[in-house]
Amino acid sequence: MADATLVLQDVTKSFGAVAALRSGSLTVRPGSIHALVGENGAGKSTLVKIVSGVHRRDGGRFAFQGRDADFSSTAESKAAGIAVIYQEPTLFPDLSVTENIFMGRQPLGRGRRIDRARMHSEATALFDRLGVALDPRRPARGLSIADQQIIEIAKAISLDAALLVMDEPTAALSGVEVERLFAVARSLRDEGRALVFISHRFDEVFDLCDTVTVMRDGEYVSTHAIAETDVESIVGEMVGREVGELFPKTPAPLGDVVLDVEGLSSAGVFRDVSFQVRAGEIVGLAGLVGAGRSEIARAVFGVDGYDSGAVRLGGTPVARSNPRAAIRAGMAFVPEDRRKQGLVTEGSVARNVAGVIRRGLTRAGLLTSAAENRAAAPWAARLQVKTSALDMDATTMSGGNQQKVVIAKWLATQPRLLIIDEPTRGIDVGTKAEVHRLLSDLAGQGMAIVMISSELPEVLGMADRVLVVCEGRITAELDRAEATPEKVMHAATRTGPTPGSTPTATEEVPV
């Protein structure tokens, strides 16, 4: 076997009081795709950032291509031949797609001028290889998360690096795009490069990778050849405890209609959306990434406006474009991007959890921190938020923990309707099961729930009823019993007539 491209041995890293890595180890060989798995906060991203020079390790061994390495900036790691796709997109919104890919190493023409024509044609070639049609001249601003991720991927493979690290590159991609990415990854592997692939989706791990390393609580647990292991044992190692059933959906008696959305339209985003949700019911919104599910949810909750239609909660109309009215009416909304929309990450746990209910905490005109702490503590406890004190900033927490804070914040309002967008995006299996159990419990207690998810098994496993959204319209409504992956897929892509789709909608599809 060839010498390892990357060797990490007992690497440690702490941020203040948080020990992100206690002993991280990882050995990646050329010509191999190496999966790195672990729960949220296991330290995967931190390990990656040490390899790429974003962070410097506190201790341990780090060798790249047989030589000891200690990068103090990403520029150094890049120069050494390491390409990284970070978990969070790192684009320059004002610059063109092409410039984003080639920034800092643009092809130069005469007199060290940037050769723009060559740069654009190289970008086009890259997109061809990835099988996507993106205008290389458009600015990156306004691209969907999926397109942003594709640019990150194009950026990384254009680097021609010996080691390519991908930190959850598929979290926002659709099936086709994932397949194309995998094809590229395989061809890079066949060229003899080393790849590291981080994902919470086991099917992808088993589909693509040849080796897997498991991490838990900042420590190395094990490394296996993929062929010699299975999902169950890996999950066991990741969690270090028994995971309950992943989709513990129990049927609950349905009550009255809680949410009634009627003919909601917003120009260019969605059209004529109508549906109802009953107490005790979980309604899943399925569809391709970019179908407009989040936009519908945002309009219903009032963070965005809509052009026509009506939203009623328990029979009473809810004012449009007014989140506070929605909250007062009894709605709660867990948005898809927790760092940007769900949380004030630099705010304390207590302020975040008490963020929506603080109006009720005012006594004699005064709102005190003590009151907020008192109100927040039980909800944090209920969701088992891992934090040392209520005044810790949410920045110091892993994704799963942050999601718990967001959910705690909304449950604290004791809503009648919970809209939850991508409840488990980027969350590890252990926490995932917890969240699912929670949703099932809440429905059992009579809460109406709208769940948006891009993971089909999650929708099928949790929803009482599935609404399929395609290009801003609801193209199918399927009961739990009749919802099969095929039917949902058809409605989501409109490859054929599906039950529940309106005939006019099909005619107008510009396919």
Binding site: V54, A75, E76, K78, Y86, P89, T90, F92, P93, D94, L95, S96, E99, M103, G104, Q106, L108, R112, R113, I114, A117, V132, A133, L134, D135, R137, P139, R141, G142, L143, S144, D147, L173, S174, G175, V176, E179, R201, F202, D203, E204, E232, V235, E245, L246, F247, G268, A286, L288, V289, S454, E455, L456, P457, G461, P485, M489, T493, P510, V511
Partner: protein, 378 residues
């Protein structure tokens, strides 16, 4: 605000007609200001044709804005990186005084050496700003507000009540303030030369593009591996150096340097850049725009009394102009966003046509069935 397309007007290819159109529209951001400028010149000339057609009028039209132009170009470099340099007025005062002192204390000193000294002094003061901003991790607004006080204090303490008079300075140097080559004043030529060099650098050099990247998203720039600290330092050094050059130009043009030299001009420099379409939060805008903005500001100031508006109202007009410029920017940006959304809609349709052999599947598992089974087992 104006976008990458302005900065990146590459040769069109087929299929990019929408972009082309959009590009033309956006390039009009600079064009719009230019048109306003020309209208003002035209209108004022109709009122009093000496404004343009007397030799003094023509010279003043060109030479008066050159000072602000230098500052606006430097300011653009800094603003593009999502910073701002409020200390330029004080740097200008300090170097203008330095210029005078050099001539007064070293009669016969070569003019070129004085220019070099001014540039070096400005660069040094800019370096101090840059170091504090880049290493102190403090917003430039605060740092340069502090150095605005400090540099001016140093200037006034150094100068005391000492004033530099025209007679202290080299006549050859002062002649620069009035001499013309081919009908274009030398000072204007200096400013235009700087403009061309900086504009070329920002458009075609890797370093220049990196300044835009840094301003567009500083965190991403760090993650990406750009040398953010160094680039920001360079931007501040250049801004300082250009303010220093402006100080020398000030001495040449006005012939006297007193305690008020350059005070308050920093906001005009920022204003010129903003009017010219440089986004205050970095990442976009061009020095050409900033230069036109500088011309516009100065020319309006000179035109108002001629068209019969008391010069007391000048500042109000300048303020209204800045506001109009940023509102216009917003309108254009909104229009652009709409276009991009349309464009994205069409390209998405192109990108994922349901092929016969590989129908797209919903996001997530490539094979939902097996996945489901695996998860269920877990």
């Amino acid at each position: 605000m104006s976008t990458a397309l302005v900065n990146d007007p590459a040769t069109p290819t087929r299929g990019a007609r929408g972009t082309q159109l959009l590009g033309a529209l956006l390039r009009s951001r600079e064009l719009a200001v230019l048109v306003v400028l020309l209208l003002i010149v035209l209108g004022t000339t109709l009122k009093s044709n000496g404004f343009l057609f007397s030799s003094d009028g023509f010279r003043n039209l060109l030479v008066t804005p050159s000072l602000l132009l230098l500052l606006a170009v430097g300011q653009t470099l800094v603003i593009v990186t999502r910073n701002v340099d409020l200390s330029v007025g004080s740097v200008l005062g300090l170097t203008a005084y330095l210029t005078g002192r050099l001539f007064a204390d070293n009669p016969g000193i070569p003019v070129i050496a004085v220019f070099a000294a001014g540039l070096a002094m400005g660069a040094l003061l800019g370096l101090v700003n840059g170091v504090l901003v880049a290493f102190g991790r403090v917003p430039a607004l605060v740092i340069t507000l502090g150095t605005l006080y400090i540099y001016r204090g140093i200037f006034l303490t150094w100068a005391g009540s000492d004033r530099i008079n025209a007679s202290d300075m080299d006549p050859g140097f002062l002649a620069l303030g009035t001499r013309s080559i081919l009908g274009i004043p030398v000072l204007t030529l200096i400013a235009l030369g700087v403009l061309a060099a900086v504009g070329y650098y920002l458009h075609t050099a890797r370093g220049g593009r990196e300044l835009y990247a840094i301003g567009s998203d500083p965190d991403a720039a760090t993650l990406y591996g750009l040398r953010v600290t160094r680039r920001v330092l360079v931007a501040f050094v250049l801004s300082g150096a250009l303010a220093g050059l402006a100080g020398v130009v000030y001495a040449a043009r006005y012939g006297t340097v007193s305690s008020g030299a350059g005070s308050g001009i920093e906001l005009q420099a920022v204003g010129a850049a903003v009017i010219g379409g440089v986004a205050i939060f970095g990442g976009s805008g061009t020095v050409w725009g900033a230069a036109i903005g500088a011309f516009l500001l100065v020319t309006i100031n000179r035109a108002l009394p001629i068209v019969g508006i008391s010069d007391f109202w000048q500042r109000a007009v300048v303020g209204a102009l800045i506001l109009a410029a940023i509102v216009l920017d917003r309108v254009l940006a909104n229009r652009q966003e709409r276009r991009l959304r349309e464009q994205q809609g069409s390209s998405a349709a192109e990108a994922a046509p349901p092929g016969p052999d590989g129908p797209p599947v919903p996001a997530g598992p490539t094979d939902p069935t097996t996945h489901h089974d695996e998860e269920a087992r877990a």
